[in-house]
Amino acid sequence: MFKKDINFIGNRNIALMFSAVLTIFSIVAIAVHGFQMGIDFTGGTLIEVGYQKPADLTVLRNTLDAEGFSDATVQNFGTTKDVLIRLKPQEGVSSVELSSKVLEAINKNAAEPASVRRVEFVGPQVGDDLAEDGFLALLYSTICILIYIAWRFEWKFSVGAIIATLHDVIVTLGLFSILGLEFDLTVLAAVLALIGYSLNDTIVVYDRIRENFRALRNKSTEEIMNISVNVTLSRTIMTSLTVLLVLVSLFFLGGEVIHNFAIVLLFGVFFGTYSSIFIASPVALLLGLSPEDLMIPVKEGAELDNRP
């Protein structure tokens, strides 16, 4: 199905340049745009209400404005019948009672009372803690993997895998930032799942490079890498396709709450596949990886047998 002699490694500079530009662009985008942080991290109150008929957002906004909730943002959530109301942590108002006050306000003059679908209130301190835990999770998983790959393979692989993975994460987050989607705990979970997936993909290629280093001794590092990427190509693409299939299903059918989760992984799997083909191996090559790094100490005399 797939041609098996594409010169990925020979043309590595094109891919590396492309990725470097993409990464820088993403970092700039994140720096400029930032993230639309959800209340999980900022603290605040979120109320989702449902109506039988499509809701008039302007009327809702005006009502909330008149009742003194001027900083409330009101928007549809999924359908026109569902409304999401967000409030920042407020000064001078007890945060626990806020949700009941808001509900009272919007139901006061409404023809149809809103049915509460969910209420979330996160105190500022809890938000800080969640953000800190999330950051630590990212940090520790990166460190654990660096160590594991360095132990199982070699440090150059380890660095290559991490660079390829960070590339995927940064580019995905860059897109996420540009699209202005909300970053919450589920999205963070998706980012971590993406790290796992992207590494998984990269390791399969590395594994084959390691195997071929030992098997094909008369070829150059570059050639061996190219062969390895090519023979694992159909597997890389097949697996990505099956994962993409379930993600598409989640994206379209999983509902609003899981939407951003699916988006992160859709982008992530796409870039993860790209990077394990185009980025992971060239980076290891740039770091000066050579077959000698992975040689099993040869028994005395064994070398002689291979001579013509």
């Binding site: 500022p124 654990c144 799942a193 796992g196 997936y197 399969v204 597997r235 993600l247 989760f261």
Partner: protein, 615 residues
């Protein structure tokens, strides 16, 4: 004999498959919306009460699907959630508050499965609806209370030892004792060394003074105790609220997580969980003039209070009994139809009350209602906790006769207030004030929506992968599909056995596992294809394909596992649910995709001449 499993290996796979099916099975049976009735008192319900409740429901015209009475609990199952809610309201209305009425979703798992310990997965709040609270215990307040207590105890000890002192007061984080004469200092230090080991003693340059401070260990113990005590109280209160399957857990050093599945009335839940209400009984000071006290001349032995109607009243400074001496209470109405709370005291309280009422027949006694209300406000971005102690005299009555153990208190505004007060008195007081720092409420309609959407995207995703694999890898693809189904069964079975919480992200995790777990099979199959191309016979291609792919699968899945474990360690709530399904999915997929498919492939191709593989 290259592709042949020994008998034990075949049996092992089949047994795991069978066990997986049995433990996954309960999830196919649904839930019945039901109402659970139990006693609010330590006693259990009896058959007679059960019959009475059944009659009440039936006479109101509701269809009961099943009525079970077991271990002093009643479980009435209904056909619709609508009936369930109406019956719960009906019972709350008709029955006294001796009955605890809770909504529940009772699984319809058949008895033979239950006897094997098989249960359906435990659904998280985002799937079943309910409230999640994170409460923060005010540690500073707990420590301050302890300091106050030590302050009083030291003063009392000085008096008992007949050591004269100028003052014992809190200042600068110290309890400062000023003696009348420095000569008494050795005696004081002796008392402190004997009875107050938890206090660290500092001797300042003033010879007549000793400064005391809580030791670090004592502070730690106080904090630990405050959280433990609060958890007990919260558990009692939650039980009183009538919630089936509540979860109460400590989180971190000073936070307590409370999850109340099925609860919709969050305001009442917040009210009950957060308040610190108690009663005190005091004699009314009839000897002094109230008017003078209002002007500022409050007599030494008395304190000025306000009655409900706003009138000032002077009460004796000494408390007769306090809330912690109350062992049981229930609400009801007195003979005039006013809401009342019936109170039972413990031995100490009863003795005190008996002695006092005997000596003071004909004098008025007051009931003081004390409530701590905590509000957290943001001022200039800083969290400021505002604690208010609300004290009001709810009732003044003349002591008509001697009473001790049991008596009645009236003067409450509404039956609802009487009910809440009796509930709070029964459940005990919080050792330290708590503050709600996180709340997540999910309505029942959203919960069902989430389940439906999760199921739908799972089925569609699964079908797409199955189709794709079958088309691309033909027979081998079908075998991989069998392994995939097997994998889902095992994941569900393990989740059910562990009773781990299934959340919406958890379902997403299962779906993701479906997409990723075929990876192992793709690796193996691609390897087999390669070996065939290299000129190997079909039999040895299968053998070498599995052999070589195994190392790769191990390495690649392990890195994935590391990330999932870190996610589990640092995730909270629903994210943890995602990590759990991911971990289980990765592990079980290694078994099903490697051993499971190999078994079937061996059955089909093993032990015979094979010309061509359907791959």
């Amino acid at each position: 004999m290259q592709n042949h499993f020994p008998l034990w290996k075949n049996l092992l796979v089949l047994i795991i498959f069978a066990v997986g099916i049995i433990y996954a099975l309960p999830n196919l049976y649904g839930d019945d919306p039901s109402v659970q009735v139990s006693s609010t008192h330590p006693t259990k319900l009896v058959q007679e009460q059960a019959n009475q409740i059944e009659t009440v429901i039936k006479t109101a015209g509701f269809n009961i699907k099943a009525f079970e009475f077991k271990d002093g609990h009643i479980l009435a199952r209904f056909n619709s959630a609508d009936d369930q809610l109406k019956v719960a309201d009906l019972l709350r209305d008709k029955m006294s508050d001796d009955y605890n009425i809770a909504l529940n979703l009772a699984p319809t798992t058949p008895a033979w499965l239950r006897s094997l310990g098989a249960d359906a997965m435990y659904l998280g709040l985002d799937l079943r609806g309910g409230v999640h609270f994170l409460l923060e215990v005010d540690m500073d307040a707990a420590v301050k209370q302890a300091e106050d207590r030590y302050n009083d105890d030291v003063r009392l000890a000085l008096r008992n030892e007949k050591l004269r002192y100028q003052s014992v007061s809190k200042d600068d984080g110290f309890i400062k004792v000023k003696l009348n004469s420095a000569d008494d200092k050795p005696a004081l230090l002796k008392v402190l060394g004997k009875d107050f080991r938890a206090l660290e003693v500092t001797e300042p340059k003033e010879q007549d003074q000793v400064w005391l401070k809580l030791s670090e260990k004592e502070v730690r113990d106080i904090k630990k105790f405050a959280v433990a005590q609060n958890m007990t109280t919260l558990r009692n209160r939650v039980n009183e609220l009538g919630v089936a399957e509540p979860v109460i857990q400590q989180q971190g050093e000073n936070r307590i997580m409370v999850q109340l599945p099925g609860v919709q009335d969050t305001n009442r839940a917040k009210e009950i969980l957060g308040t610190t209400a108690t009663l005190e009984y005091r004699l009314v000071d009839v000897e002094h003039d109230v008017q003078k006290a209002v002007e500022g001349h409050v007599p030494v032995g008395s304190r000025l209070y306000t009655e409900r109607n706003g009138n000032p009243i002077l009460l004796d400074r000494r408390v007769i009994v306090t809330g912690d001496q109350i062992v049981d209470s229930s609400s009801g109405v007195d003979q005039d139809g006013r809401p009342s709370v019936n109170i039972s005291l413990n031995g100490v309280g009863a003795a005190k009350m008996g002695k006092l009422t005997q000596a003071n027949i004909g004098k008025p006694m007051a009931v003081v209602f004390i409530e701590y209300k905590v509000e957290t406000k943001l001022v200039n971005g800083q969290k400021v906790r505002h604690k208010q102690k609300v004290e009001k005299v709810i009732n003044v009555a003349t002591i008509q006769g001697v009473f001790s153990h049991r008596f009645q208190t009236t003067g409450l505004d509404s039956p609802q207030e009487a009910r809440n007060l009796s509930l709070l008195l029964r459940a005990g007081a919080l050792a330290a004030p708590v503050d709600i720092v996180e709340e997540r409420t999910v309505g029942p309609s959203l919960g069902q929506d989430n389940i439906d959407k999760g199921m739908l995207s799972f089925m569609v995703g699964f079908a797409l992968v199955v189709l794709f694999m079958a088309v691309y890898y033909r027979l081998f693809g079908m075998i991989a599909n069998f392994a995939l189904a097997f994998n889902v069964v095992i994941v569900v079975a393990i989740l059910s056995m562990l009773q781990a919480t299934l959340t919406l992200p958890g379902i997403a995790g299962i779906i993701l596992t479906v997409g990723m777990s075929v990876d192992a099979n793709v690796l193996i199959f691609e390897r087999i294809k390669e070996e065939l191309k290299n000129g190997n016979t079909p039999q040895s291609a299968i053998f070498i394909g599995y052999e070589k792919a195994f190392a790769t699968i191990l390495d690649s899945h392990f890195t994935n596992l590391v990330v999932a474990v870190v996610l589990f360690a640092y995730g909270t709530g629903s994210v943890k649910g995602f990590a759990v399904t991911l971990i289980i999915g990765i592990l079980s997929s290694m078994f099903t995709a490697i051993t499971g498919t190999r078994m079937v492939i061996n059955w089909i191709y093993g032990n015979r001449r094979v010309e061509k593989l359907s791959i």
